[in-house]
C-alpha cells in the first residue's frame, strides 16, 4: 500500500491551499460572517466552475475527471484549513457519492451538471447524528397517483438554499428511494441562524409534500452496498475537513503565540505550551495518516471501519485544536476580532454531523467484539 502522494496530487493540494489562502483569508471570512449566510458565492463559482473541484471524483464517463479519494481528501483538508464557506462537502461528499450510488440515467444527468459547476448539491438527512445518513431514516415516501407523497422532518440540512439539487433519501417499504428536489419543485428550505457562521444550515418540514414521479432518481431502490460506500465517502470527506480545521486552528495559534510576549518571553517559548502544541501535532499526524490510508484502502468494509475511526479522532482533535486556539490567544481569543471562535464554533457543529465520535467507535467495537453483547 503506497501512501506517497504523486506529483499531481501534491500539485492539486498546493494549488488548492494557495487559492484559499488568498480567497478565503481572515478578511474574506469576516466579510462572509458579517453577511451571515455562510456562503461565499464568488469563491464557490471559482471552485466549481473554473477549477472543477466537484468534477474531481466524478467518473470521466459522467463528465468528471475520474480521480480518486486521495484528491478529494486533499481538497477537503484545504477547505477545512480556511473554513472556506463553500458547499463543497455537501456537493462533492454528500451529493456526488449518493448520485454515483444511484447510478441511473437520471442521476447521471445531475452528475454531468455538477461536474461543470452548473449546480451545487446536498443531501437532506433527517437525523444528522446518524452514521447511516443515506438510508432514508425519518422520511417516508408513499406512491400516490403519478407521483409520491413525502413525509418527514428535516431539521438540519447543509447548504440547501444554495444547492440546485437537494437529494432526499426516503423509505418505500424496505427500499431506499432518493428524490431530487430543486428550488423550483417545491423544496422550501428555511435558512437557520446558527452559532457556526461558516456553513449554511437550513430546515424543512416535509408535511405530505407531493412530488412528481420524475423527481425519483433511483430505480427500485438503491443498492445497499453502494449506499454504504457513499456513506463512507461522506464521512471520509468530513474527517478530512476536520483534520484541515485542526491544522488551520493550530497554524493561526502558532503564528499568534510566536509574536505575543508575556513576562518578557514569547508565549511559544513556554514549555507547557510547546508540549500541548506538540501533542496536538502528533494526533494530527496520526489522523492524517489514517485518512490517507483509508482513501487508498481497497476493501470497502475495512475502509468503512477506518473512516469510522478517523471520524472519531477528527471530531475530537478539531475541537481540541480550536479550544486550544482560544485558550492560547488569551483575552483576544474569545472576541469576535480574532478568528479562533470561528474554528471553535465550526468544530462543535461538525462534531455531531453524521454521528458523534461514540457512535463511530461503536461500529468498530462491534467489529472487534463480534460475539459480545453491545451495551
Amino acid at each position: 500500500m503506497d501512501l506517497t502522494l504523486t506529483e499531481d496530487q501534491i500539485f492539486i493540494r498546493d494549488e488548492a491551499r494557495r487559492l484559499l489562502a488568498s480567497k478565503a483569508d481572515g478578511d474574506a471570512l469576516r466579510r462572509i460572517v458579517s453577511r451571515g449566510d455562510g456562503i461565499d458565492p464568488d469563491l464557490w463559482a471559482t471552485i466549481s466552475t473554473e477549477l472543477g473541484w466537484c468534477a474531481m471524483t466524478i467518473p470521466e464517463k459522467h463528465g468528471g475527471v475520474g480521480l480518486g479519494l486521495t484528491e478529494l481528501v486533499l481538497l477537503m483538508e484545504a477547505v477545512g484549513e480556511r473554513l472556506a464557506p463553500v458547499p463543497l462537502w455537501s456537493t462533492a461528499c454528500l451529493g456526488v457519492p449518493l448520485l454515483t450510488a444511484i447510478g441511473t440515467q437520471a442521476a447521471q444527468v445531475w452528475l454531468e451538471r455538477i461536474a461543470v459547476g452548473d449546480a451545487a448539491a446536498t443531501v437532506a438527512i433527517a437525523d444528522m447524528n446518524s452514521v447511516n445518513p443515506f438510508q432514508g431514516g425519518g422520511v417516508t415516501a408513499t406512491r400516490q397517483g403519478g407521483g409520491y407523497i413525502l413525509q418527514g422532518q428535516l431539521p438540519l440540512v447543509t447548504d440547501a438554499q444554495v444547492a440546485g439539487l437537494i437529494l432526499v433519501p426516503a423509505r418505500i417499504g424496505q427500499d431506499v428511494a432518493v428524490f431530487g428536489l430543486e428550488p423550483s419543485t417545491g423544496s422550501d428550505f428555511r435558512r437557520l441562524k446558527t452559532l457556526d457562521h461558516t456553513r449554511q444550515y437550513c430546515a424543512h418540514s416535509l408535511n405530505d409534500l407531493s412530488v412528481p414521479e420524475s423527481t425519483r432518481l433511483d430505480r427500485n431502490g438503491v443498492n445497499a452496498d453502494a449506499l454504504a460506500e457513499a456513506e463512507t465517502i461522506a464521512n471520509l470527506g468530513l474527517a478530512a475537513e476536520q483534520a484541515g480545521l485542526a491544522r488551520g486552528a493550530m497554524d493561526l495559534t502558532l503564528e499568534y503565540i510566536s509574536e505575543r510576549v508575556q513576562f518578557g518571553r514569547t508565549i511559544a517559548s513556554f514549555q507547557a505550551i510547546k508540549h500541548r502544541c506538540a501533542a496536538l501535532e502528533v494526533d494530527l499526524a496520526e489522523l492524517r495518516a489514517l485518512i490517507l490510508g483509508a482513501a487508498v484502502q481497497p476493501d470497502p468494509r475495512e475502509r468503512m471501519l477506518e473512516v469510522a475511526g478517523a471520524r472519531a479522532l477528527a471530531s475530537d482533535l478539531a475541537f481540541r485544536a480550536s479550544e486550544e486556539a482560544i485558550q492560547l490567544h488569551g483575552g483576544v481569543g474569545f472576541t469576535t476580532e480574532y478568528a479562533p471562535h470561528l474554528y471553535f464554533k465550526r468544530a462543535q457543529a461538525n462534531w455531531h454531523l453524521l454521528g458523534s465520535p461514540e457512535r463511530h467507535l461503536d461500529r468498530i467495537a462491534a467489529h472487534c467484539l463480534p460475539d459480545g453483547d453491545a451495551a
Binding site: T194, L195, V261, Q327, G330, F334, Q348, W351
Partner: protein
C-alpha cells in the same frame, strides 16, 4: 452564630428574594451573570437599589461603615440563597466586594465619606483598571502613565486598559498606573480613583464570541484623577492592588455554584427529553459533572471556613482552576447533549439560549481572572514549591 440563627437568616433571605425578585424584576432571574454581563442594565441598576432598600448591599462590611458585619458562614448563606433564587449578576459587585473593603482598609476619611455611601445605596458603580494590551496576565508590565499636574496636584493619566468589565455601565474606575518614569515591574505604581465621566476617557466595547460585550477597552488621554483620589502613597500602587485582590475571598462563588447546579439540571432535563440518556458516555459525563460540582462546593466550604492552615491554603490555590475548567467542560457537555441542532439559535427556547451562551462564555472562564496557565504556574510554584518560571528579556 448558631445553626438555628443561620437557618433563620436563610429563610429571611429566601423570603425577601421571593417577594422582591418578582413583578418588574422577574425578567432578571438568572440573567446578567458572566457571559451575559451586559444584559438588561437599567433594570439591574434598579435592582441594586432594591437590594439597598432591603439592606442587602455590602452585608459583609463592618456595621460602622453601613454593612451588616456578616460572618463568613452568614455570607455563605446569603450567596447561596441569592444564587438559588436566580438573583441577577451584580453590577455593584466591584464596588461592594473590592473598592469598599480597600477604602475601609487604606482610604482616607474623605475618600470613605465620598464613596462608601454611593456603593451602599446601589447608585454608584465601579469598574477595574488593571489589565493592559501589552500585559494581559503580566500585571508587572503596566505602561499606563500618571503624571502630576504641578498646578492642581491632580494626576493626568494616559494609556489603555483592557478587559474592563462593565466599564460602559460604571461611574468610576480604579486604575493602576506608573507614576515614576523609568521604573519597571512592581515599583513606581500608583492606585487612583477616577471618574469615567470626563473628556479624556473613551470606552470601547469588546465584542465577545457569544455576542455580548461586557468587557471594554478604556482609553485615557490626559484624563484627570483628583489629587485626593490617590489610595495609599504614590509608589505604593502594587501593594494596594494586591491587597484589593485579597478582598476577593470568593464567597460569591457559592452563588455561582447555584447557577452551575441549575445549568446541570437543565442539561439533565434535556437529555431525558431527547433520549441522550441512552448514550453511555453522556451518562458518565453527567455523573462526572455532578461529582465535580459537589467537590467544588466542599472545596469552597473548606477554603472559606478554613482554619488558615498550610494544608487548606494549598488546596485553595486550585479552586479557580477547578471551577473554571469544570464549567468549560459543562458547556461542551451541554452542546453534546443538545445534539446536532445544538448550534441552531432559537429565540423561543430560553433554556437552550442560556446553555449556548454558557458554552461560549465559559471559554472565557479559563482566561479572565488569571488564565489556566497562570493558575498552574501559581499552584506549582506556591503550592508545590517548584522553581519559578524565569522571566524573559523582551519588554
Amino acid at each position: 452564630m448558631s445553626q438555628q440563627d443561620l437557618n433563620d437568616l436563610r429563610h429571611e433571605i429566601r423570603d425577601w428574594m421571593d417577594t422582591h425578585l418578582t413583578g418588574r424584576f422577574e425578567p432578571l432571574r438568572f440573567r446578567g451573570n458572566a457571559g451575559d454581563g451586559d444584559a438588561l442594565p437599567e433594570l439591574r441598576k434598579a435592582w441594586e437599589q432594591e437590594l439597598a432598600h432591603g439592606g442587602w448591599t455590602c452585608p459583609h462590611w463592618p456595621k460602622e461603615h453601613g454593612g451588616r458585619g456578616m460572618s463568613v458562614p452568614q455570607q455563605i448563606v446569603f450567596q447561596e440563597e441569592y444564587g438559588r433564587a436566580g438573583g441577577p449578576g451584580r453590577i455593584g459587585h466591584i464596588g461592594e466586594g473590592l473598592v469598599g473593603p480597600t477604602l475601609i482598609a487604606f482610604g482616607t476619611e474623605a475618600q470613605k465619606q465620598q464613596f462608601l455611601s454611593g456603593i451602599l445605596a446601589g447608585t454608584e458603580y465601579w469598574c477595574q483598571g488593571y489589565s493592559e494590551p501589552g500585559a494581559g496576565s503580566d500585571l508587572g508590565n503596566i505602561r499606563t502613565r500618571a503624571t502630576r499636574d504641578p498646578g492642581s496636584g491632580d494626576w493626568l493619566v494616559s494609556g489603555q486598559k483592557v478587559w474592563t468589565s462593565l466599564a460602559h455601565l460604571s461611574d468610576w474606575i480604579f486604575v493602576l498606573a506608573r507614576c515614576e518614569a523609568g521604573t519597571v515591574g512592581r515599583h513606581g505604581l500608583i492606585f487612583l480613583l477616577m471618574s469615567l465621566d470626563q473628556s479624556g476617557v473613551e470606552i470601547q466595547p469588546i465584542e465577545q464570541m457569544g455576542g455580548g460585550a461586557e468587557f471594554n477597552s478604556v482609553f485615557f488621554d490626559n484624563a484627570r484623577a483628583k489629587a485626593e483620589h490617590v489610595v495609599g502613597e504614590p509608589g505604593d500602587g502594587w501593594q494596594i492592588a494586591m491587597a484589593l485582590l485579597g478582598f476577593e475571598r470568593g464567597i460569591s462563588t457559592l452563588g455561582q455554584q447555584m447557577a452551575f447546579a441549575q445549568e446541570l439540571e437543565a442539561i439533565c432535563d434535556i437529555a431525558r427529553e431527547n433520549g441522550m440518556t441512552k448514550i453511555p458516555s453522556i451518562r458518565q459525563r453527567i455523573a462526572v459533572a455532578w461529582t465535580g460540582l459537589r467537590a467544588m462546593r466542599y472545596l469552597a466550604l473548606r477554603v472559606l471556613g478554613g482554619d488558615g492552615s498550610h494544608d487548606v491554603q494549598r488546596d485553595a490555590l486550585g479552586y479557580k482552576y477547578h471551577w473554571s475548567n469544570w464549567h468549560r467542560d459543562l458547556g461542551k457537555l451541554a452542546m453534546d447533549v443538545l445534539g446536532p441542532e445544538a448550534g441552531v439559535l432559537d429565540e423561543s427556547d430560553p433554556r437552550k439560549e442560556r446553555l449556548q451562551r454558557m458554552f461560549l462564555f465559559s471559554r472565557a472562564d479559563t482566561i479572565y481572572g488569571g488564565t489556566n496557565e497562570i493558575q498552574l504556574n501559581l499552584i506549582a510554584e506556591q503550592g508545590l514549591k517548584m522553581p519559578r518560571e524565569p522571566r524573559g528579556t523582551k519588554g
